[in-house]
Amino acid sequence: MGAECQVMGLFTDEDRAASTVKALKKTPWHLKQVHSPVPSHKLSEALNIKKSKVGYFTLVGGIIGFFLGFALAMFTSAKWSLIVGGKPVIALVPFVIVGFEFTILFAVFGNVIGLLTQGGLPDYKGLNVYDPRCSGDHFGVLAACPEAEKNQLITYFKEKGGVTRVFEPSPSADP
């Protein structure tokens, strides 16, 4: 197989970008990425994107936090087992507050870990095949094709109403 070339079609219209994504799936070319300046339902639908699993990380974080909060409050009270005002040393009602705050805190930690791991962040290498217009007002559809078909892919994107940018394979890139 010859060197693979990557071409990005840039669209100012979300609908055109979405229809291009749908149409591109029926071609022999390989759809690599779609970039958008905003979260887009139309593009998600075109890409048939599934629900994120970040929530599981959040849930696990929350469960850990819940038990950790109660455990910390109970452990520290047990270490200083002085009965004050006839109240039990391990008093669950006030510990609910500690448990609650820890639940939220660790759920958020889980959420952040989920976001970073699932979203693949940080990802500085991704900037090599990226057009800065995608953070402004353009939707970028990145597709790969054999070097010989590059012009065909460029024409394809132009026919769909986009402008194009070609990312030449770097010398060290896999063939």
Partner: protein, 438 residues
């Protein structure tokens, strides 16, 4: 918002990041001077002792605690706007969400300084941390003060992470339109965000969970702050109404601070097309609601004092209204409940000047609310021979000015060096189609 396009939103926000004028740096220098003044007062207090403040028997909690509660309160509407209104899908929150979140983070940072200052020997703060130690002494998690440590630390961490997560796509936008050192800094800060649909897929979900978690948190945090008082058996404090009363008050003061900050910001940075009058009007309408809740809480406290036939409660509430601190009490009532009623008039609600003036009055009123709650109850509790008055000293005033300077200093630096309005969230509310073509 209909005249706006994606490109216009970007341009308007990016224009704010251009090199600052001389007036801007004078303002920064003035605020820095305020911080140095406050710091000097704090250092003086550390060397001489906590006695340089006005706190003494019976009023052991003075302006340090007043300012702590005031700044925690200010911090609340940021989360209200960014999280609660996000869950309710209120589109008008988008233009002001970033500034409100920023306000939250800086207000919590400012609030967090006051327990250190009030501690006197600030280096002993590690006593509050649960760690194995030779004293076999652990923090008491049955104490409302420890609840506060846990709640405020959680709130600072969560609101900072929420704020940074919201900033990510905008940091990438700034990165893509910068050169040189700024580009390098924003490349690192944006963590290589490229707006891939795969990234958005997780981002949208994660942001929703952030909002869902921050909503109960914001309610819990000021409830916990209120329990610093309500769990003490002191007339005027020991009431079950305190948690909702404090939460409503916090949102009331926070919304007023949003107006105080957003109105000059809108003018200076020419944000008129993004932060429209309708947005400010909606904030004003929310202030009417919170003002009515706060007014209802003031009334309920008096009603319950009378209805309970508890002579101590009746005595303290009479003293609040007609005793030594009556001026503070009436400033509180007028500024927080009477003046916001003018916002019922559409003419007032749509006047930038009036909105700004009313927001300042509410800020003043909410500071005095904390003064009245904290000072009057302990100054005039059970035993008449233990009664005593409190007035802040010049050292306390200096630290207070320092805290206000610190808050505005951080905010002013932020708005000139980071996107102060969320470009991404404002693009989201635009009608999709050809209109956003650059």
């Amino acid at each position: 918002m209909s005249e706006l396009t994606y490109a216009k939103i970007d341009q308007t926000v990016l224009d704010t990041l251009r090199p600052a004028t001389r007036v801007y740096w004078y303002t920064v220098a003035l605020l820095a001077a305020g911080i140095i003044g406050g710091l000097a007062c704090w250092i003086y207090q550390i060397f001489i002792g906590i006695g340089v403040g006005g706190q003494n028997n019976p009023v052991a909690w003075g302006t340090y605690l007043i300012n702590f509660v005031f700044w925690v309160g200010i911090a609340h509407s940021g989360t209200l706007i960014s999280a609660i209104l996000h869950l309710f899908q209120a589109g008008w929150r988008n233009p002001i969400a970033r500034a409100a979140e920023t306000m939250t983070v800086f207000a919590v940072c400012t609030a967090g300084l006051f327990p250190f200052i009030h501690l006197g020997r600030a280096w002993m703060v590690y006593y509050m941390l649960p760690y194995p130690n030779q004293r076999t002494l652990w923090p008491n998690f049955q104490s409302p003060l420890m609840f506060d440590v846990v709640a405020i630390s959680t709130y600072l961490t969560v609101s900072s992470l929420f704020w940074y997560t919201g900033l990510l796509p905008d940091l990438a936008t700034v990165r893509d339109r910068s050169t040189g050192l700024r580009k390098k800094i924003f490349t690192i800060l944006s963590m290589g965000w490229t707006g891939r649909m795969e990234q958005w897929r997780h981002y949208v979900r994660g942001y929703l969970f952030f909002a869902a978690l921050a909503t109960p948190l914001v309610i819990s945090v000021h409830s916990v702050v209120s329990w610093d008082f309500a769990l003490g058996v002191v007339p005027g404090w020991h009431t079950t109404i305190f948690a909702p009363y404090f939460v409503a008050g916090a949102i009331h003061s926070g919304l007023a601070m949003v107006l105080t900050l957003m109105i000059p910001l809108r003018k200076i940075f020419s944000y008129e097309k993004i932060i429209t009058l309708e947005v400010l009007e909606n904030v004003a309408k929310t202030i009417i609601l919170t003002g009515l809740i706060v007014g209802f809480a003031y009334g309920t406290e008096f009603f319950i004092a009378w209805y309970s036939h508890n002579s101590l409660e009746i005595s303290i509430f009479k003293w609040r209204a007609f005793g030594h601190y009556r001026v503070g009490f009436w400033i509180m009532v007028i500024c927080n409940t009477i003046i916001p009623l003018f916002l019922f008039l559409k003419r007032v609600r749509r006047s930038i000047i009036w909105l700004f003036v009313i927001s300042i009055f509410i800020n003043i009123g909410m500071w005095f609310e904390r003064f009245v709650i904290i000072i009057t109850s302990v100054a005039h509790d059970f035993i008449p021979h233990a009664w005593g008055l409190y007035w802040p000293t010049i050292v306390e005033m200096g630290i207070m000015v320092g805290s206000f300077s610190l808050f505005f200093f951080l905010f002013v630096l932020f708005v000139k060096h980071m996107p102060s309005v969320s470009m991404t969230e404002n693009k989201e509310v635009l009608v999709q189609g050809e209109s956003h073509g650059g």
